[in-house]
């Protein structure tokens, strides 16, 4: 499962960890995140993320 990086603030979404503070269980793939999920650090929307190189 690939990690995704927020191009605004540099936060890395790691599917292994998910985003439990915002109701995203560990093991959730980036593509399966709800469309209204936002970066937990800066609030940028999902389309501001890029796959980690």
């Amino acid at each position: 499962m690939g990690k995704y990086v927020c191009t605004v603030c540099g936060y890395v979404y790691d599917p292994k960890e998910g985003d439990p503070d915002n109701g995203i269980k560990p093991g959730t793939k980036f593509k399966d995140l709800p469309e209204d999920w936002v970066c937990p650090v800066c609030g940028a929307s999902k389309d501001e993320f890029e796959k980690e190189k």
Partner: protein
């Protein structure tokens, strides 16, 4: 303001904004300063500028040291307009083709403020710029507190130009920590509480990163307020403490009131909390500014919110505070709600909903009293406070 010499060839050429009292909704009772730094070697660099209205003063200050036209490079550590507003004027003065160094996000954000065809040069994290003997290193500091934020480090002199981090809204001729002493700390804490609290996890990371890079810091030059030269570790340690959101045995009671009933409740609750040996601070929202309230929230273990029910909802100042506080993301607080009401009494439920959204530990369903608290009601308030105080002591 006269330029302030910081080290050989390093000057603060910024300005005091003595009578500013409101900084985008944050009350600043001592005004503020917009610091800008001139670094002189074979090449000359200006780090950050000032608010647009003060650009002429900036140029005048620079002129007291060198002819501004001799500036070779501009460095923008932060896009926000209190630091970038002077760019058009200064570039017009020194030549619009002069390189303007900024972070990659700085390039993106500055271009949206200034679409002029300037010579923007985006730098990488860790990239160096030589001025001769003096070498500047750029350190990415994303979200401290904007995506474009960057620090600039002057190697040999060990000076960190830290943009808004470690700043304080304070205007004065006392430009150094050793001159002003501890009187500056409440301003630094207020700045942290109102500008940086929400980025606490990132602050800890960047402080760790600076330590891992082995950067020694002799002087910290922020973009607002005084310069930390005597003991920069003091403000770094305070930032670590505030970022960890370490609390005291303290509660803050934030409320507004219509006919004093919620106020009477607040004071009885305060007595109850204090009876458990806990420091407590009741704050009336039309007497205390939201930014002063946030400063008290930072080191409080419990945040107790009271509102009368007005038109089936919250009192507007309480909504204002809750919205503001939620955005600043205080962590690991004990919370509880109270309020007087006439007939419907929605306020406690509405406050609880907001406190839950902030993931506060709600230790009581809340206390509401119809119209005016009687003797029994006051005793309930006292016991409610005592329960909170006991929970704080743990």
């Amino acid at each position: 303001m006269q330029p302030v010499k910081i080290a050989e060839g390093v000057y603060d050429v910024g300005v005091n904004d003595w009578n500013s009292r409101n900084f985008h909704g944050y009350s600043i009772n001592m005004g503020t300063s917009y610091n800008a730094y001139l670094v002189i070697d074979e090449k000359i660099a200006l780090i950050d500028t000032v608010k647009k209205e003060f650009a002429a003063q900036l140029i005048e200050n620079i002129s007291k040291i060198i002819d501004p036209k001799k500036i070779d490079y501009i460095i923008s550590n932060h896009t926000e307009m209190d630091h970038s507003g002077g760019l058009p004027r200064i570039l017009h003065k020194i030549g619009e083709n002069k390189p303007l160094f900024c972070s990659k996000m700085g390039l993106k954000n500055l271009s949206m403020h200034f679409p002029q065809n300037w010579n923007y040069q985006a730098v990488e994290d860790g990239e160096e710029l030589s001025l001769g003997e003096k070498i500047l290193t750029f350190i990415e500091a994303k979200m401290l507190h904007w995506p474009d934020s960057m620090f600039t480090y002057l190697k040999k002199e060990k000076i960190l130009f830290s943009s808004d981090a470690f700043g304080q809204h304070y205007a004065g001729y006392e430009k150094f920590d050793d001159i002003i002493g501890d009187a500056i700390m409440p301003h630094a804490k207020k700045y942290f509480a109102n500008i940086l609290l929400l980025y606490s996890p990132l602050i800890l990371k960047i402080i760790e990163r600076i330590a891992s890079l082995g950067l020694e810091i002799n002087i910290i030059c922020p973009d607002h307020g005084i310069i930390w030269r005597k003991d920069p570790s003091k403000i770094i340690e305070a930032y670590i403490r505030w970022s960890k959101q370490e609390t005291k045995n303290k509660a803050v009671i934030i409320y507004d009131t219509m006919w004093h009933s919620t106020e009477i409740m607040a004071e009885a609750i305060a007595s109850g909390i204090n009876s458990a040996g806990v420091e407590v601070r009741p704050m009336h929202l039309r007497k205390c500014h939201r930014s002063d309230v946030m400063t008290e929230v930072v080191d409080s273990r419990a945040v107790i919110v009271g509102s009368p029910t007005l038109n089936n909802g919250l009192f507007p100042t309480v909504s204002d505070l809750l919205t503001y506080m939620k955005g600043l993301k205080p962590k690991d607080k004990i919370g509880a709600a109270f309020g007087s009401y006439g007939w419907s009494g929605e306020s406690v439920k509405l406050i609880n909903k907001e406190l839950e959204a902030m993931k506060f530990e709600i230790i009581d369903p809340g206390l509401k009293i119809q119209y005016v608290p009687d003797k029994e009601g006051l005793e309930m308030c006292f016991q409610f406070g005592k329960k909170i105080g006991t929970a704080i002591i743990g």
